[in-house]
């Protein structure tokens, strides 16, 4: 209990909330790194995942490959990459993108795959092209799962960016790496609390986004499914399937 009160005292100290090594600066750095990692990972992972889901091909290759990459220990990868690339932001960025890719790809392809085949067939039969099916039918219906994949990736990235402080980089990991050799356990715990709080807040934000992007029909269908364990009538209602300008 004592160490917790020390950690909260550390957090309450205004001296730790200003300057280039203060909490706001470190938080911003951490969020910046996380955002950058997610942008890169989404730019790579989303097209790959959608392609797999839409065509049903490539899954056997991409899924085990990204899964295997994920098994690499991130810190080891950072150290190894830094031997080749130097001590800049690239080594941890690459290592963290590798960590973020599998959930993003999995969210995208499983989201698209989960779209009812009858719906896809119906869309085709009323004249949708391949890309029309993907962008106007499959992606909107898959959005909750796609965002879910990004959400899971984001949580891992926020937590794991701390290891990057092995190298001379900022972020919340700085508090942990700098505290350990000096046996400053108050700072160590305070840094951990900051990472946890940040991760929970961002995760909560994603939960909200996930709700917002869920199409109304899907939401109604799901709720009914859960309540009655039967097919909801809304799902069969063809009105929401019809393209806007049919």
């Amino acid at each position: 209990m004592n160490s917790y009160s020390q950690a909260f005292a550390w957090l309450a100290d205004p001296a730790h909330w200003s300057g280039a090594t203060g909490v706001p600066q470190r938080l911003l750095e951490h969020l910046g790194y996380t955002g950058l990692t997610l942008i890169v990972a989404i730019a790579i992972g989303l097209p790959v995942g959608l392609l797999i889901g839409h065509t049903g091909r490539g899954r056997e290759v991409v899924v085990p490959f990204t899964g295997a990459l994920r098994a690499l220990p991130t810190l080891g990868l950072v150290i190894l990459l830094a031997l080749g690339l130097g001590i800049g932001i690239l080594p941890p960025l690459i290592a963290l993108v590798i960590l973020a890719l599998p959930p993003i790809i999995a969210g995208a392809y499983s989201g698209v795959e989960s779209v009812d085949r009858e719906v896809v067939d119906a869309a085709r039969s009323v004249g949708f092209t391949g890309s029309g099916v993907l962008w106007q039918v499959e992606v909107p219906l898959a959005l909750p799962l796609i965002v879910g994949g990004i959400r899971s990736a984001c949580l891992q990235v926020i937590a794991t960016w701390t290891v990057a402080a092995f190298l001379p980089l900022g972020g919340l990991g700085r508090f942990l790496y700098d505290a350990l050799p000096n046996e400053d356990y108050a700072q160590l715990l305070a840094g951990s609390i900051l990472v946890i709080v940040l991760a929970l807040l961002v995760d909560g934000l994603f939960a909200l986004v996930q709700r917002l992007v869920t199409p109304r029909g899907v939401l109604a269908g799901r709720t009914a499914d859960i309540r009655t364990k039967t097919q909801s009538p809304t799902r069969k209602d063809p009105s929401w399937l019809a393209p806007e300008k049919a």
């Binding site: 150290i79 830094a82 031997l83 130097g86 001590i87 402080a165 092995f166 190298l167 001379p168 790496y177 700098d178 350990l180 050799p181 000096n182």
Partner: protein, 317 residues
Amino acid sequence: MARTRKGVIAAAGALSLAALVLTGCAGNNGNPLSNDSGSKGSSGTITVGSAAFPENAILAYIYADALSDAGVKTDVKANIGQRDRYIAALKNDEIQLVPEYTGNLLQFLDSTSKVSSSDEVYSALQTAVKNGGGGKLDAGKAEVLDQAPGQDADSYNVTKKFSDDNHVTSLADLKNVKGELKVAANPEFATRPYGIPGLKSTYGVSATLTPINDSGGANTLKALLDGSVQLADIYSSDPSIAKNNLVTLADPQHLIAAQNVVPLISSKVASAKVKDTLNKVSAKLTTDQLSDMLKKSYNDKEASDQIAKEWVKANGF
């Protein structure tokens, strides 16, 4: 009832697991100190301990081999652990001899000590060991023998090119260097007296820390070689210093406490023959020699006892 029975089964399982682990330890001698029945020094055997890193283990084997060649019965318990662990083992007579480093041992026995040159540290250490170091050793029961010229201390290193371009061979020269000075070192370097603050107060040099958490390892070296930093804190016996033509900056003001290799020994086994042999060994242990042996350990993956055997043979013991 069911709950209680489950609890009993779980407890039984945990007990048998614990028993398995314990017997396993005793069986394969996982703890280097567990299998010392009757070898408590009384039989005339000197047990040499070592800390859990390669250089220290090599030194322990060197002491043991040199002593055996001089006709003293020895036994080695290498890789015991950290300082608090093996000093306790020496106090308990589980080991009688251990290779140590003057500055760190002095800090351990007397944390108020402020001396840093080799001679000052050594004489302060002699006193601290004699007094028992605040109960960590028994007063009057242990002593340090002659210190070796070889050190394994933190050291500031620059590239040969930086040294030539800026005419820098000593920390005192750094204040004439124009431009930013960055030091790659572990994060604690920001606050330690031999780190950034000491550089400012002792030499008037303003430098910034580039924290790399590998204790002067490969990433630190890479940052120095690719010019990301101008200085790097690397242990003085690290073979990468010679391999990469680095220049270790002299420390005329003794910013960094000396870390000469020194044998710490129980007085009751420190006969004239033992002392004489170990002092001869120490006289030949230079930093270069340590570095050579470490190279064999890191690069050639030779075993510590083998490296020690070769050194003892080559140096005519």
